[in-house]
Symmetry: C2
Subunit: 577 residues, 2 copies
């Protein structure tokens, strides 16, 4: 037996296997995932495993390595999030999202930091040795909403698109702020004196870290798109480039201390449309599927490790500090959302309702990023207290808020996501209105989002597409692409229905056509008629009103009841004839 | 700049990127890959890179790590080979393959070992310090044909299926023999005296290593199939299990010193039919695509590293030893093939022609496995000589034999692979004959391959399928599955043709049908006729004579000219009406 030799890959494979099997086990009991979010179940599995390891070895189980988390587990999830980001609502609400992500996070950091410092001044709590800077440092790591936790919960409750993108977008983009503040306070903690220059340098860094991330991401995204122009003869390695370039963008950003999360999102969103046009259909299926698979596994591993790492002797318990941390996290977030939304609503026609505000405040889940950051803290005598407080906040938000948010959404009757995707008609109208608004903005001299979108679209079709797309001579509008996709899908369904052998006969539909031709089949059909039928059958666009089911990260669109669809198509086709 | 932090993943990603870009670059010049095998080009790139590193650093570039090779680079290639192994020719020739793999390899090991020992006795060559055992050890690592090198070359020359499977099967299955002999001689080298018991134990080990590998592989394969029964609700992680279980089978076999290659092949071949039936279509596309992608990348990396590792100061040059190694490798392989084929041909009706024998002998390429094994040797004063000899043998076989084998195949007019897959009619007849032969064997009491195949099929449908398949109540024969696949494919093509908007009009095809109906379209078509047409259109099975292009590991089937196909289908459909 030579275990040493294969230990590393063997254990990694076993962990992934365990995570996947746990996932299967939850889904075998259909009722479980509909009540408890998967993230809670996974943390619970982790806790049990941590307990077993602790019981057997009589020492703390291994803590999730921060390097492993930031270098290997986080990127797939963020890549998946960026690649499947609904770009329209994202860009429509980019201002609000940035406000929440930047100002909101700063608000929370300072709010939590200063008020915890206030608590530390109470002599009875015996916390006077925790300085203001340490409290602010703790505030900077505990304030940021976690994209992994938010995704895991919000994807299951299907709130309306705007609400979803506000919470989720904030959780992604606050990375830049968190990185800057965390590093700033950490370096302040080690500095003997702090000059005002350092504070201003810190403010300047926001822009460098955020915009630098965007720049790195876009650079790699465009390079990826350009590379896929030349893969026509080796389709097999096409999916690889999507993964390689996004990962490189993340690593490069991290290397230069920029925001890796922002970089990978910019990369994914930037390359998506060009890559999709360049690579083959099967490559694209593979890219989508593998992204989902990878992020799903990463996400599972993160929550299990979170559970495992919780068990152990890393904690220093101090009731007041921990309780007040939880309370302040809730209160400051609620206040921040109220104040910021007040300003947002003054400048928007589509206001954010008070129900939505409540869900935004309540959906501020903390997760593995806080956890990793707290372990990255330099050693000082109260580190274990911070670890304990962070663990409690994470478990509280994931379990209590995560499990109650779905009933609350039901109770408040928060506007849900529409079940069906927009029809082609709607899409055409939306596009038409966009053009119209761009024109109005241009004439009125107001450079709003439509104006910029139009300019970007012009730049894209005039320069970018020519460089990045392989077949520029045949540019296809997204409507045509949608039409092709639908045709393909329905053709498959039709083929599947043909195999069933018992196509539904609905004579009632055809009752009014009572002309009977007794001639043989061949005689009744002259060439023109035949061609006509084939034309109609092949080009008929049917059932556009339901193009895809509601988005869910654990399934890929287009896997629901092909048989039923196909039947409906057959009926519709008959009608159309 | 914090390079240290991201170094490991960054460098790995960059290497993979380099490999992929090199692949793209070759394929941009279409003529290059048709003359020089890709493996040669990649080694060449590696040599250049090694030279650059050597020139810049003034020390040997890093040598390919044996652990990385055996744990991370080799498994994807073998998994790909096992999963896409054509099982019929493999099992039909299993006896011959095993004979070549076991007896042939032993023959080569002892042949090369003893004759090199003979060379070492010549005083003029100054090699008298190389003992017989060391020569045999060297023989054991240099004798084995390398599956990676064989695949890379043979996939591009498209020889007939039997010839391909003989060379390729041998290269895969000789792993068990190589492992045993290599470890045996290595432990003998370290033992003071060798007892005859040890030699017999070594012989017994063949069976343990080989059959143990098969057992481990089948166990994991069946578990994988069983697991995919329960993934209906989370399709996204289905592909994962295929990879996880195969990798675990490899690692487990390696852990117990069994043959990992044999294990992963048994696992892949065992699980394939059950997994394919259980998982969704998109999951299956992802599995196939990713397997191809992964093996393609691994294979590229291996050849590049092979080139890089060649440069440096690891070599001790000794003209006679190195030249005679190359000569003996060629001579003993040729002799072995001649002798073994003589026996094989006496027991078979379909004999192996002398042309085929020549290609089998000439196709004995050596590759990265030898290279890794020679670096794994315990340190002794002639190790650098062995490294030099191994490098020369690998480069000679890959460059000289690899580049000349295609012209030789053309020159000798070796029987090529048939371009088209067998038609459904042929398949039905083959299956019918199998049943017939199984019956004849049963009656005559001769337990041949058909008898066993029939028994296995019975066992499979009676027990295995019930346990391993999710939807056992609807068992589908492979013909029905093929039909479904064809229908699906052609439905997609039809949809694509519909979008083109200019379906080919061939009035000449329809000239003879001159009945003109002036009534309106609706009037001419009574419900029955309509239903009839739809029936014909949906259920028509067309163009089965070309179901797939010739096998090539760099492309997936079904990516060729959908437009042309679709046109043909349209014409055929019209004809059929």
């Amino acid at each position: 037996l030579d275990y040493q030799h294969v230990q590393v890959p063997f254990e990694i494979t076993l962990w992934i296997m365990l995570a996947s099997l746990a996932k299967i086990a939850f889904h075998l009991y259909n009722k479980l995932p509909s009540v408890v979010p998967e993230s809670c179940l996974l943390i619970f599995v982790g806790l049990i495993m941590g307990g077993i390891i602790y019981g057997l070895n009589d020492r703390s189980p291994p803590v999730m390595d921060t390097d492993i988390f930031f270098l290997y587990l986080l990127p797939p999830i963020v890549l998946d999030a960026g690649y499947f980001m609904p770009s329209r609502p994202f860009f429509e609400n980019i201002g609000t999202i940035l406000l929440y992500a930047v100002v909101g996070t700063i608000w929370n950091v300072f709010g939590i930091g200063f008020s915890l410092y206030g608590i530390c001044q109470v002599k009875a709590f015996r916390l006077q040795d925790v300085s203001l800077l340490h409290n602010l440092l703790f505030g900077s790591l505990i304030a940021a909403v976690d994209p992994v936790a938010v995704l895991a919960v919000f994807e299951e409750i299907h709130v309306n698109e705007k609400l979803h993108i506000l919470v989720f977008g904030e959780s992604l983009l606050n990375d830049a702020v968190t990185v800057v503040l965390y590093k700033l306070f950490r370096s302040f903690c080690e500095m003997p004196t702090i000059k005002s220059v350092d504070v201003f340098a810190g403010v300047g860094k926001f822009f460098v870290v955020g915009l630098g991330g965007v720049l790195v991401g876009l650079t790699f995204g465009m390079t990826a798109a350009f590379t896929t122009r030349f893969t026509k003869d080796i389709r097999v390695i096409e999916p690889l480039f999507v993964f390689l370039y996004s990962y490189l963008s993340y690593l490069t950003a991290e290397m230069f201390h920029l925001s890796g999360i922002v970089a990978i999102i910019a990369c994914a969103m930037g390359m998506k449309r060009y890559v999709e046009a360049n690579i083959s259909l099967k490559s694209h299926t593979t890219v989508k599927y593998f992204m989902k698979m990878w992020s799903s596994v990463s996400d599972t591993l993160i929550f299990i490790f979170l559970g495992v790492s919780t068990i152990g002797e890393n904690h220093e318990w101090n009731w007041p500090y921990i309780c007040f941390t939880v309370i302040f996290c809730l209160v400051w977030r609620a206040l921040g959302v109220l104040v910021l939304t007040f300003f947002v609503n003054r400048f928007h026609v589509n206001t954010i309702t008070s129900k939505d505000q409540f869900i935004i405040a309540y959906g501020g889940l903390r997760g593995a990023i806080c956890f990793s950051l707290v372990f990255l803290l330099p050693d000082f005598h109260r580190k274990k207290l911070f670890i304990a407080a962070t663990t409690v906040v994470i478990l509280f938000t994931v379990f209590v808020q995560g499990m109650t948010i779905r009933p609350l959404v039901d109770l408040l009757a928060v506007k849900r996501k529409r079940e069906s995707a927009p029809t082609v008609g709607e899409q055409i109208h939306i596009r038409f209105l966009d053009h119209l608004l761009a024109g109005i903005e241009d004439i009125s001299g107001h450079w709003g989002q439509y104006y910029w979108k139009d300019k970007l679209e012009y730049f894209n079709s005039k320069y970018l597409q020519k460089i990045l797309l392989r077949e520029y001579d045949q540019p296809k509008s997204s409507i045509v692409l949608l039409y092709e996709k639908l045709e393909r899908k329905h053709a498959i369904e039709l083929a599947a229905a043909g195999q069933l052998g018992h196509a539904p006969s609905h004579p009632s539909l055809l009752n009014d056509r009572s002309v009977v031709t007794d001639k043989k089949l061949e005689d009744t059909l002259n060439p023109d008629v035949l061609e006509n039928i084939q034309e109609i059958l092949a080009r008929n666009l049917y059932r556009t009103r339901r193009t895809g089911p509601a988005y869910n990260r654990h399934t890929l669109p287009g896997e629901t009841e092909p048989v039923e669809h196909a039947k409906e198509i057959l009926i519709l086709r008959r009608k159309s004839l």
